[in-house]
């Protein structure tokens, strides 16, 4: 279940965050899991993703004084814009495409199970899902991961990507339909993609 901070509270936290460490910590605590999840769907291996998550928050800390509140969702859009730009830079430098992934290169997944086999299965599911999302256009990858893992509303995604909100909604829907079709076709023809240890 995705959680959100009430707009007024968030505005107050941001205002306090430059002189109250507790306020800064609360903001960080709220956004860290979202940024972490979003970045891990866009970047592999997990070590690189973690570096990028760290860079995102360090840049955000540095630039916090320059952020201007523009209403509910403006901070999320600003923060994820930092992450997005770092991801773009990463791809420019690395030119990495989708490739078979070792389990060690994958992040842990949220799970209620303590069984190691379940953990392995979860990682495989994640790798598969990430691969499928990676076959979408960059725009749709971005929008789906921001929506599902960044916890951003369509309006916030639109603000971040300088798009019309309707365009974001269209991309989201078309992207999910594409994923659905790819999954359905895999049932007929199993994927050749593999995860190895």
């Amino acid at each position: 279940m995705q959680t959100r901070i009430d707009g007024k509270r968030e505005e107050a936290l941001i205002e306090s965050a430059q002189h109250d460490l507790a306020a800064f910590e609360e903001l960080y605590g709220h956004y860290f899991p979202k940024v972490y999840a979003y970045v891990n769907y866009r970047i592999t291996p997990v070590q690189e993703a973690e570096d990028l998550v760290a860079s995102t928050f360090l840049k955000a800390t540095e630039r916090l004084g320059r952020f201007q509140w523009r209403g509910d969702g403006s901070f999320a859009a600003w923060l994820f814009r930092i992450a997005h730009d770092l991801i773009v830079d990463f791809y420019r430098r690395n030119h990495k495409g989708t490739s078979p992934t070792s389990l060690a290169d994958l992040p842990e997944l949220k799970s209620n199970s303590l069984l190691p086999d379940d953990s392995t299965m979860q990682k495989e599911r994640f790798a598969h899902l990430r691969h499928l999302i990676g076959t979408l256009s960059p725009r749709r990858q971005e929008i789906i991961t921001l929506k599902f893992f960044g916890g951003l509303r369509n309006r916030e995604i639109a603000q971040m990507l300088a798009l019309d909100e309707r365009t974001v909604a269209s991309h989201l829907c078309r992207g999910l339909e594409d994923l659905h079709r790819k999954l359905a076709s895999e049932v007929v023809q199993p994927s050749k993609e593999s995860v190895h240890e």
Binding site: N40, Y41, L64, P107, E108, K110, R166, A169, L176, L179
Partner: protein
């Protein structure tokens, strides 16, 4: 008509499914929708950070936040009339700095994750005195003529040499070491006497510090180790090595910065250091690192979390860099 009204009904339906899944976790709202299961699958496959990474990043962010925001307060830069009165200026600010400590610590204790942050900020004194641990001092240097960020734990500032400060006694937990290149000062941790120890051998100095002390292996002819002084700061020490020879004394100072080991698991100890000068401050490149060349005789840089400063009154930048490169 709002923007959603221009979307096809099937899209509106799917958007409602997505919002429902994200709001309610894996509990389906529209089980009959063909994409509901996919949305649940996506929403349920969430990467989660390892605790070790989270903790490490928290520490990094705390340090970054402190460096950026803890010392930014209002107020005008203090003025110092000459190098000799920098010490007076520091004395002026130290009482305020230590008044700020209780509230600083109290604020930290309310946090359950990064609680009770105790910041010891040591000071490299150059030209006369350098202090960086004092928030009001840092306030002052925020208004400095210029500043250089040397590393995550080290800064340098150049201030305008006009002041009107009368000498006042230092607080009881502050130590000062005077050298030919300037004074070094800092505050001893709570419960520790601000006593500077002097030892006659490098090995003794290493035995009294909890980090790897480095010494120069390439010095101008005729120079040899004379003594080391060690002063307590934030759970570690500031080590100053003195080398005597035919010319002016060569000073090699080093101190770890950033988060330090703490006896109390609820307390985070961090060290910052910096140099303030009313003389000259030049940003230089030291083998790919940002460094500061201070007053024409002292080089300041940070490497692997440790602040280093080497200088002598009669050595130029290249000579000091050569000595710095020979540290082992």
């Amino acid at each position: 008509m709002n923007k959603k009204d221009r979307l096809a009904p099937r899209d509106l339906e799917l958007l409602a499914v997505i919002d429902g899944v994200l709001a309610n976790g894996s509990g389906a709202r529209r089980e009959d929708h063909p994409l509901e299961a996919l949305c649940v699958h996506i929403a349920g496959t969430v990467p989660q950070a390892a605790p070790k990474f989270q903790k490490r990043l928290q520490q990094q962010l705390t340090a970054a936040w402190l460096r950026k925001y803890e010392f930014q307060t209002e107020g005008a830069a203090p003025r110092v009339t000459s190098k000799a009165t920098l010490l007076s200026w520091v004395r002026d600010h130290l009482p305020e700095a230590f008044k700020a400590w209780p509230s600083l610590q109290k604020g930290r204790l309310q946090s359950t994750r990064m609680s009770a942050l105790r910041v010891s900020v040591a000071v490299l004194l150059v030209a006369s005195l350098t202090v960086a641990f004092v928030p009001p001092l840092r306030t002052a240097v925020v208004d400095a003529i210029r500043s250089i960020v040397i590393g995550p734990n080290t800064d340098a500032w150049q201030i305008d040499p006009h002041a009107n400060n009368e000498p006042r006694p230092l607080p009881p937990d502050v130590w000062v070491i005077h050298t030919e290149i300037g004074g070094f000062g800092g505050n001893a941790p709570p419960g520790v006497d601000p006593i500077v120890q002097t030892v006659d051998t490098f090995e003794e100095a290493q035995g009294l510090t909890n980090f790897h002390l480095r010494r120069p292996t390439d010095l101008p002819e005729g120079f040899a180790f004379r003594e080391a002084k060690l002063a307590p700061i934030g759970g570690t020490s500031w080590a100053i090595l003195f080398y005597s020879g035919p010319g002016d004394e060569i000073i090699v100072a080093q101190m770890p910065g950033g988060p330090q080991p703490s006896d109390d698991p609820n307390v985070v100890v961090a060290i910052k250091s910096g140099v303030v000068t009313d003389g000259t401050l030049e940003e230089v490149d030291f083998d790919g690192r940002t460094a500061a060349w201070i007053d024409g005789h002292s080089l300041l840089w940070e490497s692997e979390g440790i602040s280093y400063q080497i200088g002598a009154l009669d050595l130029d930048l290249q000579q000091v860099m050569d000595i710095a490169r020979s540290l082992r």
